[in-house]
């Protein structure tokens, strides 16, 4: 049985804390009750879970190496965070209650190769930090930002977060890492393994097996630096914001966008969102109804009318040379007009014009998190995000099935369908009302039902909250869960005492914490 909490024997923790203090200074150890609260998951469904024992905040790689050695000696589970803003997936909290947070938010070094358009970042560099750094140098390169840009650039890429520009699949823009292993060894991947190589951030694969993705959504090491490719500022940006009137418009819209994306006419990653994704930021539920349970069609119609929203909306953008964008724009517009959208708002920008301050230009944002206030009081959200094929039929079926479950469990449906090159991710943000205990009790069975429904159709999630890492890992079950067994074997080889993020992605929940502890 996986452990969900671990109480470090007090004398062992005390000994470890003395050693940690010698490494980072007592002022960078945080073990008060208030610290335990502040590193817990602010959006938790159950506030009693995932509470850490405390936190340590190193600011050098050498300190991290020393910390893992002490942690191994005293069997202290560490939970590394870059900035801890992974809200909806657990924030700064560990899977295993009682772990010690390894807070890397003080590590903020940025190395910029302007000619090649790459950066080498430490984990504490946030999207706002990198935006500010680039802005001070004339924004010759653009970021790709997620809807909550409060967090870490590489932390987001390491959890496979996405943005909305042609560089929106962040994890595929990583190029070269520096990693501390559980025994304290420092490894550089790709061309970084070649001492002093000028191509560390230019060629992703190096020689022989390439390990970068092994450290993504994983607990096999602590990433202390990562390279990232940045998009050169385009000459031109063109596109359109579209609204569609009916739920059933989703399928044809997906079937129209998908070939354009695969062909490369469209190079960014559009995301089709329902009306509530926009409305939950603009207004609160109580302004429209006092009825509990899923919103009625009448209320939905009233909200849509007020904000002039379609049932679905999508923004398409073209990046690059103006002449090419003009031609591509004509194709996009012609294809979209065939679908008879409710509205189409065109946008066009040329270098030197004022820039739209949105995710389409890689501007960092936090206002989408205003949806935490949808229910009026203490809120939050938790994600359910299965990967689907790029098929209108499959997406419509997933939508109908999921919508029905939202009705059944009395939840308000907020969802989007986000394009990759060959896949769709159906991101559902379940908007929590932490002041409504009855609703909060329904969240866990609701999510378990959604995971089971998806699994029944061969779909699995791309990312999940701490509470569901074991569950989601268990749905990847080919050949008796061979992948999970491989992960466990690698984990046991690299981290026999299970000190790095036990339980992350369902790895190492049982092995490292049994027996010896």
């Amino acid at each position: 049985m996986p452990l969900s909490s671990y109480s470090i024997p007090p004398e062992r923790l005390a000994a470890a804390r003395r050693s940690f203090a010698a490494i980072v200074g007592a002022q960078n150890l945080f073990f008060d009750a208030e610290d335990q609260d502040s590193y817990s998951d602010a959006f938790a469904v159950d506030d009693s879970r995932h509470r850490p024992a405390g936190a340590i905040a190193p600011d050098t790689v050498e300190q991290i190496q020393a910390i893992v050695r002490v942690a191994a000696e005293h069997r202290i589970p560490l939970w590394p965070i870059s900035r801890g803003k992974n809200l909806g997936y657990g924030g700064s909290a560990p899977v295993l209650e009682g772990s010690v947070i390894l807070d890397l938010s003080r590590m903020k070094k940025i190395e910029y190769d302007e000619e090649n358009g790459t950066v080498l970042l430490e984990p504490g560099v946030g999207f706002y930090d990198l935006y500010d750094f680039l802005k001070a140098r004339g924004l010759k390169h653009w970021l790709s930002t997620p809807g909550n840009s409060w967090g870490s650039v590489i932390g987001n890429a390491l959890d496979r977060g996405v943005g909305y520009t042609p560089y929106g699949e962040h994890t595929t823009k990583l190029c070269g890492m520096e990693v501390v292993l559980a025994d304290g060894t420092l490894v550089r991947t790709g061309m970084g393994a070649l001492t002093g190589s000028p191509t560390w951030q230019l060629y992703r694969f190096g020689f022989g097996p390439a390990w970068d993705q092994m450290f993504v959504q994983s607990n096999l090491g602590i990433v202390t630096k990562a390279g990232l490719w940045l998009m050169p500022e385009p000459e031109s940006l063109m596109g359109m914001d579209l609204e569609f009137d009916r739920p059933e418009d989703l399928g044809p819209l997906i079937d129209a966008i998908a070939p354009l994306r695969r062909e490369g006419v469209l190079q960014q990653s559009p995301t089709i969102g329902n009306w509530l994704r926009a409305a939950a930021i603009l207004t609160t539920r109580a302004e429209w109804t006092d009825q509990k349970g899923a919103l009625s069609d009448t209320v939905i119609a009233a909200i849509r009318k007020k904000f002039q929203m379609g049932w679905w909306g999508v923004s398409l953008r073209l990046y690059g040379r103006e002449t090419i964008n003009r031609e591509a724009y004509s194709i996009l517009e012609s294809e979209m007009n065939k679908l008879k959208p409710l509205s189409m708002k065109r946008t066009s920008w040329k270098r030197g014009d004022p820039l739209e301050m949105t995710g389409w230009t890689g501007t960092p944002l936090t206002f989408p998190m205003q949806n935490a206030n949808w229910h009026g009081g203490l809120g939050g959200h938790i994600g359910f995000s299965p990967v689907l094929p790029q098929s209108g039929t499959a997406a419509m079926e997933q939508f109908r099935r999921t919508y029905q479950r939202y009705q059944e469990f009395g939840m308000d449906y907020q969802a989007s369908f986000a394009f990759g090159e060959r896949h769709l991710i159906n991101v559902n943000a379940i908007l929590l009302d932490k002041d409504d205990p009855d609703m909060m009790r329904r969240v866990d069975p609701f999510i378990r039902t959604l995971v089971a429904d998806a699994k029944a159709h061969g779909y699995g999630e791309y990312r999940t909250h701490l509470d569901y890492m074991d569950l989601v890992a268990s749905t990847y079950d080919f050949n008796g869960g061979a992948l999970g067994k491989l992960n466990a074997k690698v984990k046991a080889a690299l981290d026999p005492f299970g000190i790095i993020a036990p339980g992350k992605s369902g790895i190492g929940t049982a092995a490292g914490q049994s027996g010896d502890r």
Partner: protein
């Protein structure tokens, strides 16, 4: 993507512009192509730019720390500003004249409303005191 998304829908941007009282920027609606579009409607103004240090190069001490650690949510167009605008007519903390040092520190450390707590590893006790002092000194008032 944290289950969220960048929303560029008209109503939202218009509302943000009102909330933040940002100077309206020219709407971007040059015709990129000759083809006719259905029901094209005037574009709303763009949201304000993020509050980061390059926008306040002369900021020092508590102001600098405030911009660096709080600007993403408490600048114009940020989540904190948007939610405070539902409760107060002075949503920008830098324009408030009713904050106390203890209140600012308590709100940041324990979280308040939908604002998550800010841990000590991210913003040290010394830095948070400087931020609170900045937000409660007279020179900080009067609007930016």
């Amino acid at each position: 993507m944290n289950g969220l998304a960048t929303v560029t829908r008209g109503g939202l941007l218009a509302l943000l512009a009102v909330l933040s009282a940002a100077p309206a920027q020219p709407a971007e609606q040059k015709d990129p192509a000759a083809a006719a579009a259905p029901a094209a409607r005037p574009g709303p103004p763009s949201p304000p730019p993020p509050l980061t240090l390059s926008a306040r190069p002369s900021a020092k001490g508590g102001e600098r720390l405030y911009v660096q650690y709080c600007g993403m949510c408490h600048g114009k167009g940020g989540m904190g500003t948007g939610l405070l605008a539902r409760r107060t007519d002075r949503p920008l903390l830098e324009e408030r004249n009713d904050l106390t040092v203890d209140y600012v520190i308590q709100a940041a450390r324990t979280g308040i409303g939908n604002m998550p707590p800010i841990p000590r590893g991210e913003v040290s006790d010394a830095d948070i005191k400087q931020i609170a002092a900045y937000l409660t000194t007279p020179k900080a008032r009067g609007g930016r």
